[in-house]
């Protein structure tokens, strides 16, 4: 018995859903960023599953994955720096309390 494309796609959809929950529901800004990392990982599983089962001789999906990894690293670096800055000026990383722009 073998795993096929649908198995991987279903897995990545589920992982994406879990990451989305982390983004929508967590109160700690850093936990939200962890949710985003989960979603990006789900996207990478998707890309590599398509590469493996539909176009194993194409390079394109692999380039996409590398770009996603780069963007993930950049996103984590800038996102966490923003969180550190917010923490410095508000004294908290609780997203419910950081509501100054709501006026």
């Amino acid at each position: 018995m073998t795993a096929n494309l649908t198995h991987y796609l279903a897995l990545s959809a589920a992982l994406f859903g879990i990451g989305l929950y982390g983004v929508l529901a967590r109160r700690n800004a850093i936990a939200v960023l962890m949710g985003i990392e989960l979603m990006l990982n789900a996207a990478n599983i998707n890309f590599l599953a398509f590469w493996r089962f539909l176009a194993p001789n194409s390079v394109e999906p692999q380039v996409y994955v590398l770009v996603v990894l780069t963007v993930a690293a950049a996103e984590a670096a800038v996102g966490l720096a923003v969180v550190l800055n917010v923490y410095r000026s508000f004294g908290t990383v609780n997203l419910d309390e950081i509501a100054r722009l709501k006026g």
Binding site: T2, A3, T6, H7, Y8, L9, A10, L11, A13, A14, L15, G17, I18, G19, L20, G22, L24, A25, R26, R27, I30, A31, M34, E37, L38, N41, N44, I45, L48, A49, F53, L54, P56, N57, V59, E60, Q62, V63, V65, L66, V67, L69, T70, V71, A72, A73, A74, A77, L80, A81, V83, L84, R88, S89, F90, G91, T92, V93, N94, D96
Partner: protein, 196 residues
């Protein structure tokens, strides 16, 4: 062997989903950070089952080795990791659960029902794969390759600017004043913002 065995896929997939659930469900955000490690490693294992050998290494190096360290350092630096006994979810959480189940299951079903062409081709070996990727990065995909370094440059400069924005603000007093002011304004405008 054309496709990965279900006996490789199933344990890796359940490990990834379980640890991902622990990441979003852990009350202590430090624990969530530590649960992220096995999750990223399980995803690396899934890449291995897909024969994307280069990305197994890259996933472990970049995600588990670097991004996770960055996240844990940020947790160290933000001192008020909220008390695990406190509520850890926003007021949208009850709404988020059905939405995420809908997105996860709906997406999974949609993917499963789509008529994917059945191509039974073997993946190239590890050395050929990496070489093909390198040739791609030099040739057809030279632009994304250079843009990637610009993205990294922008992220580096932006993050340094943000992290070093001010010389350590003058003690916590002004911060507390600010927050008191906000709360005052909120209570004056009879905002029903749910407090702490």
């Amino acid at each position: 062997m054309i496709s990965p065995s279900i006996f490789v896929f199933a344990p890796l997939a359940s490990a990834a989903l379980f640890t991902a659930l622990m990441v979003v469900r852990s009350r202590n955000v430090i624990h969530a950070g530590y649960w992220l490690l096995p999750c990223l490693l399980a995803v690396a294992g899934l890449f291995g089952s897909l024969e994307a050998h280069f990305f197994v290494v890259v996933q472990i190096l970049i995600y588990a080795g670097a991004i996770l360290i960055l996240i844990l350092f940020a947790l160290m630096l933000t001192r008020d990791v909220m008390d695990p006994k406190q509520r850890q979810t926003t007021k949208f959480a009850p709404l988020a659960v059905p939405l995420c189940i809908f997105v996860g299951l709906g997406g999974a079903l949609m993917m499963a029902r789509a008529p994917w062409p059945a191509i039974q081709a073997a993946a190239p070996g590890p050395a050929e794969q990496t070489k093909a990727l390198g040739l791609g990065l030099i040739g057809d995909y030279a632009l994304p390759f250079e843009v990637a370094s610009l993205i990294l440059l922008a992220a580096l400069i932006g993050a340094i600017c943000l992290a070093k924005a001010e010389k350590e603000p003058a003690a916590p007093e002004p911060v507390i004043d600010l927050r008191g002011e906000i709360e005052l304004e909120e209570s004056v405008s009879a905002g029903a913002a749910d407090g702490h």
